[in-house]
């Protein structure tokens, strides 16, 4: 797997992670807490990119880790934890889209919490970045997730295909279409 450029993982860390998983399997919640601490940033970024909503993303990421904890017994501790937790998060995000009618807004002007605060404001991102994320959010769901897994997660076509249970050809075509749509929408930003 291609590693996220921001999160290099060395061998020692892998071993350490395996130990954490083993200990978590044995019921050591503190060990699981360390896994949460290690991966939550990256998972949250991915889910926020998909949902465009920090609050929803927080819920999804929370649920993902809880599910992972409950299913730890079936997880091979020799495998890296992140691909597993990210797969869970992607699946839950899919479910979230279904349950929410797929009309998930990424409009910074409208997307406010019940307390009136703009959840995206917490992200402290530039207007251009907001525009970009809004454009990503407006992609058809099928394209959006493929684009995010490729552009944010740096997964290979094969990894995306496995994760989403689609063919590599479908990954290719969706990615192409996603990029075409984004190029059209963000032409001025990209020139």
């Amino acid at each position: 797997m291609e590693e996220n450029k921001n999160i290099p993982v060395d061998i020692a860390e892998d071993k350490n992670e395996s130990l954490l998983v083993i200990r978590a399997k044995e019921g050591d919640k503190a060990a699981f807490g360390r896994l949460v601490k290690k991966h939550q940033q990256r998972v949250l970024r991915m889910v926020v990119a998909m949902t465009g909503d920090l609050d929803s993303a927080m819920d999804i990421v929370q649920d993902s880790f809880i599910r992972a904890y409950k299913a730890l017994e079936s997880f091979d501790s020799n495998r890296p934890f992140y691909p597993w937790i990210s797969t869970i998060a992607v699946n839950l995000t899919y479910n979230y889209f279904k349950k929410s009618g797929r009309e998930v807004s990424f409009d910074p002007e409208k997307d406010t919490r019940s307390d009136g605060a703009d959840p995206l404001r917490q992200l402290r991102i530039s207007e251009n970045d907001k525009r970009f994320l809004k454009a990503v959010q407006e992609l058809p769901e099928q394209y959006r997730i493929v684009f995010i897994l490729r552009s944010f997660e740096h997964l290979s076509y094969n990894e995306i295909a496995l994760k989403l249970k689609i063919s590599e050809g479908t990954v290719d075509s969706r990615l192409y279409r996603a990029r075409r749509i984004l190029l059209d929408k963000l032409k001025d930003l990209l020139e």
């Binding site: 599910r67 409950k70 099928q142 552009s151 689609i166 990615l175 990029r179």
Partner: protein, 485 residues
């Protein structure tokens, strides 16, 4: 040119990601050298990637601390019980080898067998299964549980040591009359077969050995292991076994159960078997209780008569729907671990999942999962065409959806999505069938989900190919499918 785009443009994305063959990479590279517009597009795609890289900042500590706190707090509060709809206590169920505790029961059974009132029946093929020779008097018994009982628990017993196509589903009901003990409504699963030439689905009749039946006080289930299966009734004691011929022709795996039957068998088809510690295991029945709550629907309740009319075509016998429904429950339980592993309670059941489940009666599920278990697309199509009933399940107007989908796959420009369209169609259909059979809302939701996704893909395709009237016609047909809840 296709759809206004050059062949190079369509490959730019894959070129950027290094996903093309060396030859294609070279071809695109050459085109880039001579086509400034193409090179400009590639550069824009690169910038798009850079924008993605930089668009999301790292979340600050306060957000992460809150998230971590929520996760860990939830773990502390919820314990370790799973909350998904597929929760099963399967892993908690134990088949307890308590032979020695109940050796007296087994011994009495052995005596019954040795009395020579039971006869072996060889099981060389599914068609010659013991289920083909049921006790006539028992076959006339009603499907439903005894009216005088209240259903208190249900469950199914499985023995992971069994291989192949065999398993036993048992549903138990507690009699109102405590003196009568526990009654059991047993489902014995046999393998249906399909005769494509005659267009007949040969469904072995279910053998209802003892319904209503009473378990004698203190009796326990006896499993026959590594021996030929037996069926028969001795006096008011009945044994039903389900067998699978092992690789070694001389060895069979089997379940057996002892009942107190209401009436004696008129036909004995089994030969004596000597029960011993080596070939039996006594199981505490209550250990089998698990979380699935789809108790056996009777025909008059949620069974055949209440199903969508199209389902009557699927169900070739009054028992087949019930058998399949219970099989599906079994599938669901068996897939539970994998579903949770993937964190997706809505995981589509896949062929690979089924193949790994050695206990599943694949043939009995074939009608439901035909499109998953038949690997060849042509074979699937042939099977479906031979079974016209299956083309009517979801839509009233589509007589041959596979042919329709095949046609769809031939349309230009959508070949990459054809498989997905088919997959979504099959997923929707399968879950709708499962819903009709099991009355479980989860399957209904799954079917709706799949249908929604199918719509998405079709709409995407129509947007991409707005002038393709054939595509629009196909999509229009498919989008007319309606589920009946």
């Amino acid at each position: 040119m296709k759809n206004g785009k050059s062949k190079y443009e369509e490959k730019l994305s894959a070129y950027l990601d290094g996903q093309l063959t060396p030859e294609e990479m070279a071809e695109i590279a050459a085109a880039l050298d001579t086509n400034p517009g193409l090179a400009n597009q590639l550069e824009q795609m690169r910038r798009l990637g850079e924008l993605a890289e930089s668009s999301l900042p790292e979340f600050d500590d306060a957000i992460l601390a809150k998230l971590e706190q929520n996760i860990m707090g939830n773990l502390e509060n919820s314990g370790e019980e799973s909350s998904t709809v597929f929760t099963s206590k399967l892993s908690e169920r134990k088949i307890i080898p308590i032979w020695q505790k109940y050796i007296a029961v087994a011994a009495s059974v052995a005596v019954l067998f040795l009395a020579g009132r039971l006869a072996w029946k060889d099981i060389d093929s599914p068609q010659s299964s013991i289920m083909h020779s049921p006790a006539p008097s028992m076959m006339q018994m009603p499907l439903s549980a005894p009216e005088e009982t209240n259903d208190l628990e249900s469950g199914y017993i499985e023995d992971e040591s069994l291989g192949g196509d065999s398993y036993l589903i048992e549903k138990s009901v507690q009699s109102d009359d405590a003196d009568k003990g526990v009654s059991f409504n047993t489902q014995s699963i046999a393998r249906p077969t399909v005769d494509v030439e005659s267009d007949e689905l040969n469904v072995p009749e279910k053998q209802k050995v003892a319904t209503p039946s009473r378990r004698s006080e203190g009796s326990k289930k006896i499993e026959l292991k590594n021996s030929a299966s037996a069926t028969g009734i001795e006096g008011n004691e009945a044994v039903v076994g389900i067998a699978k011929k092992a690789e070694d022709d001389n060895v069979f795996s089997a379940f057996g159960e002892i009942y107190i039957a209401d009436q004696p068998a008129e036909k004995i088809t089994a030969e004596p078997v000597v029960l011993s510690e080596e070939n039996t295991e006594t199981v505490a029945l209550n250990e089998a209780s698990d979380s699935y709550d789809s108790e056996a629907p009777s025909q008059g309740e949620s069974g055949l008569s209440d199903m969508n009319p199209s389902m009557s075509n699927v169900v070739h016998s009054g028992t087949y729907d019930k058998i399949l429904a219970d099989s599906i429950v079994s599938v669901r339980h068996k897939l539970k671990a994998d579903m949770e592993f993937r964190g997706d309670a809505q995981t589509t059941i896949e062929m690979a999942d089924i193949q790994e489940l050695s206990l599943l009666p694949l043939d009995s599920l074939k009608d439901i999962y035909a499109l998953y278990v038949i690997p060849s697309k042509n074979d699937r199509k042939e099977y479906l065409l031979s079974k016209s009933v299956y083309t009517e399940i979801i839509g009233d107007t589509i007589s041959n959806p596979m042919a329709l989908l095949d046609s769809l796959a031939q349309l230009p420009g959508i070949d990459n999505d054809a498989n997905e369209i088919e997959s979504l169609y099959l997923r929707a259909k399968t879950h709708y069938q499962l819903y009709l059979m099991t009355d479980e809302r989860e399957h209904y939701r799954e079917a709706l989900d799949a249908r929604q996704q199918l719509e998405d893909v079709l709409i995407d395709q129509m947007n991409l190919h707005p002038r393709d009237t054939r595509l629009a016609e196909y999509a229009k047909d498919i989008l007319q499918w309606r589920f009946t809840e």
